[in-house]
């Protein structure tokens, strides 16, 4: 039982870590704000969620475990809202989403 | 280890000087404030690093731990951080007033406006 939990926790931690790295890559490589927001909000939340769950499985006491579960709950709430507000205000400021990603003015590595 | 011991301090000195340079070279008042903050924050890190003991832990009493980092620099820097943000707040509100009355926050433009009056 203990070993199974440990393995599960490690799997979660590793998945969370890799997702976070992928999200970082996405942030750099994606062409415009709206696509980047996907990487920054969705993938990041997923990564953090996995890491926190993995850590919660390792928690010494129930109190610590609950705290470790509360954190991702708030994180899910705030990241999603922040992304929503960000894209909304970008839209209001007149930033148009890219229609054709192939014709992006800043191919990977370019300026933003 | 011997080398690393000083290397750490030197990095902090580099950071301090980056902030100090920004403060001195910038003509925009907000940039100057950012430079000042960089400078101060790096000094704070430098200070706290002086209290660190290799192998020590956070200065919160726990059973089975004997070596703690010195809490005194922590307390000093807590004070210094708060003092720093207080002066930043005042500085920024001064910038607001300057922008209101001069219409600019570039140092040389302000100077030329002052000479004109």
């Amino acid at each position: 039982m203990e070993a199974a939990l440990d393995v599960l926790s490690w799997v979660l931690l590793l998945v969370g870590g890799s997702v976070a790295v992928i999200s970082g890559v996405g942030l750099l490589r994606l062409p415009d704000l709206y696509t980047r927001l996907h990487a920054a909000s969705m993938l990041d939340s997923l990564g953090a969620l996995c890491v926190f769950l993995g850590l919660a499985l390792q928690a010494e006491s129930v109190a610590v475990g609950i705290k470790l579960l509360l954190a991702p709950a708030f994180l899910l709430l705030t990241t999603a809202t922040a992304a929503h507000v960000l894209s909304k205000s970008a839209r209001r400021a007149g930033l148009e989403p890219l229609e054709d990603t192939a014709a992006a003015p800043d191919a990977p590595g370019g300026k933003d | 280890m011997e080398f690393f011991g000083l290397f750490n301090y030197w990095v902090f000195i580099f950071l301090m000087m980056a902030g100090f340079y920004l403060l001195l070279s910038a003509r925009n008042l907000v940039k100057k404030i950012v430079g000042l903050n960089l400078f101060q924050t790096s000094v704070f890190v430098f200070y706290v690093s002086a209290g660190k003991v290799t192998g020590g832990t956070v200065p919160i009493q726990q059973e089975g731990i004997t070596s703690y980092s010195n809490p005194l620099p922590h307390v000093l820097i807590l004070t210094a951080i708060v003092v720093g943000v207080a002066s930043t707040a005042l500085g920024l509100s001064l910038i607001l007033k300057i922008k209101d009355t001069y219409g600019t926050m570039e140092e040389d433009e302000i100077d030329s406006l002052d000479v004109a009056t």
């Binding site: 705030t78 929503h84 507000v85 909304k88 205000s89 209001r92 | 280890m1 690393f4 011991g5 301090y9 990095v11 000195i13 580099f14 950071l15 301090m16 000087m17 980056a18 902030g19 100090f20 340079y21 920004l22 001195l24 070279s25 003509r27 907000v30 404030i33 950012v34 903050n37 960089l38 790096s42 704070f44 660190k52 003991v53 290799t54 200065p59 009493q61 703690y68 010195n70 809490p71 620099p73 307390v75 820097i77 004070t79 951080i81 708060v82 003092v83 720093g84 207080a86 002066s87 930043t88 707040a89 005042l90 920024l92 509100s93 607001l96 922008k99 209101d100 009355t101 040389d108 433009e109």
Partner: protein, 336 residues
């Protein structure tokens, strides 16, 4: 392991610092400074300074960045591109840096347990004797609030000065009910009323305020205390301001009330000190507050942390509200 984390953080710090110096867009600079501040908070954690890390994250990365951004929102974010003065600044910086490096060459190495900082009896007193004297596990708290309580009183006075100073600078003349006399409708800075944001905000604000109370009370056992709690409490009110605009926020926490709270917190702190004098001890000698010295210390620390919390929360709220109010008023080209 800690060393690897340390090196990675230092590399990040240097990169961000260089980028800040080279960047021209002011919004970018302000954000980079926020990142720098957050990174140094992580360095503080590596250096075992939990309380400092928390304060740096809340005050340096949070509050300072918010104030910078709201200043930029009012002033515009583009620095004029022009020839940079670099000769004299570079010279001054090189000399200063060289002096600092020169100074470090005779210093105890990083983390040396035999350095004077660690071996001086004062350090021993704070680490060992403080347990017997106060019974508070977090050594930072009694040191902050009692051994060096006078410093902290001064620090609260600095925060007080900042609050009063900013009000004196950009505060407006107000009527009895708190509305400004020179009513000047600029664009309201709140986000558009939207269901998502408002609902989430309403869920978060109580949680934030509750968390602030937790930090306030938890200072004895872990990182926390009046300063951190005050900033977190104020951040709840800031969120309210973002959701419902300056006018509504100023109805919840009117400037006149905030200004009095700023004063009351400092008075509470100083008043405890005067009370100690009347009870026969020295200024800020909390041991006079109860028959048992330990209990007295405890009561004293709780009370002054409360005073600090009130002042800090009120000042931070005042700062943000005043900046937002100024922003909303729009540019006023008049000399007063």
């Amino acid at each position: 392991m800690a060393q690897i984390i340390d090196i990675v953080l230092l590399v990040f710090l240097c990169t961000v610092a260089v980028a800040t110096v080279r960047m021209r867009d002011l919004f970018g600079i302000a954000m980079l400074f926020g990142i720098f501040s957050l990174l140094s908070a992580s360095v503080f954690v590596v250096l075992d300074a939990g309380d400092v890390a928390m304060t740096e994250a809340a005050v340096g990365a949070g509050l300072t960045t918010i104030l910078m951004l709201s200043t930029l929102a009012a002033t515009g974010s583009r620095a004029h591109p022009r020839a940079v003065r670099w000769k004299l600044p570079l010279f001054v910086v090189t000399v200063t840096g060289a002096a600092l490096v020169y100074a470090t060459t005779d210093m105890p190495r990083f983390g040396d347990p035999n350095a004077p900082v660690q071996t001086h009896p004062v350090a021993k007193h704070y680490i060992e004797t403080s347990q017997e004297e106060t019974g508070i596990p977090n050594m930072v708290t009694p040191l902050l609030a009692s051994y060096r309580g006078f410093d902290t009183l001064g620090e609260t006075a600095v925060v007080f000065t900042a609050g009063i100073g900013v009000l004196a600078l950009i505060g407006r003349r107000r009527k009895k009910d708190g509305t400004p006399v020179d009513e000047n409708h600029g664009e309201d800075i709140r986000a558009e009323h939207h269901a998502v944001v408002r609902v989430v905000g309403k869920i978060l604000i109580p949680a934030i305020l509750l968390y602030a109370c937790y930090i306030q009370a938890h200072g004895d056992f872990g990182p926390g205390g009046g300063f951190q709690a005050g900033v977190v409490f104020a951040s709840g009110l800031m969120l309210y301001l973002l959701l419902f605009g300056v006018a509504a926020a100023a109805r919840v926490a009117p400037f006149a009330v905030l200004e009095r709270l700023i004063a009351l917190g400092l008075l509470l702190y100083g008043g405890i000190g005067v009370l100690n004098m009347m009870l026969g001890g020295n200024f800020l000698d909390y041991r006079t507050l109860a028959e048992n010295a330990k209990d007295g210390l405890h009561y004293g620390i709780i009370l002054i942390e409360l005073g600090v919390g009130i002042t800090v929360a009120a000042v931070v709220t005042t700062l943000v509200f005043a900046f937002a109010d100024h922003l909303q008023r729009g540019p006023v080209h008049r000399q007063d």
